[in-house]
Amino acid sequence: MSKSHTSAEHEHQVTHGSYVSYITGFVLSIVLTLVAYFSVVNDWLIGWSVLLFVTALAIMQLLVQLLFFLHLSQEKRPRFNLMTFGYAAMVVVIIVIGSLWIMYNMRYNMVHEMTPEELERTIIEDEGIKYLENDQTGKHSH
């Protein structure tokens, strides 16, 4: 099975870059890191927009490194590496966003931080059961 194209075939199967791709990736990564750093240190933004801005920069840098350092876009079909990455990314988003979502809603159970009156008031306000209670008082006697 010795064929002259074996070496060329290998070149296509395992992806790797060139000096140009590594230097491009490196420069872009440094720029993205510095922009994120100075946006926070010099207070360019305030509140939740900081969170969105630096998260967007981190995701941009992830894409830069996947393309220029890991050469994910050069992979030949079937793109198993890209598929497993997509699946892992989905699991990561579910774990992180899901945990934050659940724990945010679970704060009702943090009773040690609230007095019973505070807890009752929080639940009444958030669930809107105050009005229900008023409407139904004494109307269910048989």
Partner: protein, 203 residues
């Protein structure tokens, strides 16, 4: 230094197939490692405000220090790529030099991280101080442990590179090592963003 040892790696077709499978297998391991880090990131995000009266994330980190750490690791991710280019063009001495530079940058990063851990512990903020510190040490420490393993792997591969030259086996192992190293840099981008930058921004 014979001609045979420096000959282009991976000529036999069966080796190419094994190589391709190994690459995919290692990539799959990295993806499962990503899920492990996701769990630690989620834990940190949930627990980071539970400081039990202690200082918050915005008060304990030195930002220029962390930026230096980040630049060291980012540069090492670049130099490991250059090392692999040298391997592929069969330049052993050049590849060796780039790997040594990568190793020194990685060791510098790990040293800075251990210095930071030690400093926090001396200030009474070790992993058992509160839930915030526990989740911080678990997340950043797990990444540091990966870096330490990568550095050990790099030492082993340097010895092999000197002994055997650029063989098919060494090229395959070094490719996986470079993949591992790029992956650790990507994980660090998110630690830098979500732990340090967001801590400093006090979001």
């Amino acid at each position: 230094m014979s001609e045979l040892k420096i000959a282009p790696a991976l000529e036999a077709e069966h080796q190419t197939h094994t190589y391709h499978k190994t690459y995919f297998g290692f990539w799959t391991y990295l993806m499962t490692d990503l899920v492990l880090f996701a769990a630690l990131f989620a834990t940190y995000a949930v627990l980071r405000d539970n400081t039990w009266g202690g200082p918050t994330a915005g008060e304990i980190f030195s930002m220029p220090f962390v930026l230096t750490e980040t630049m060291l690791l980012l540069t090492s991710s670049f130099t490991v790529g250059l090392a692999m280019l040298a391997i592929r063009s069969s330049k052993r001495a050049l590849a060796f030099t780039w790997f040594i530079i990568t190793f020194l940058l990685g060791a510098g990063f790990l040293g800075m991280e251990l210095y930071e851990f030690n400093k926090l512990a001396n200030e009474g903020l070790a992993w058992h101080a509160n839930a915030f510190m526990s989740s911080f040490f678990t997340l950043v420490g797990t990444h540091g442990a990966h870096i330490a393993v990568g550095l050990l792997w790099m030492i082993v591969m340097m010895v092999k590179l000197v002994k055997d030259g650029i063989t098919a086996n060494n090229t395959r192992r070094l490719t996986l090592l470079s993949l591992f190293w790029h992956f650790l840099d990507i994980v660090w981008i998110f630690i830098f963003t979500f732990v340090y930058l967001m801590g400093a921004a006090s979001v």
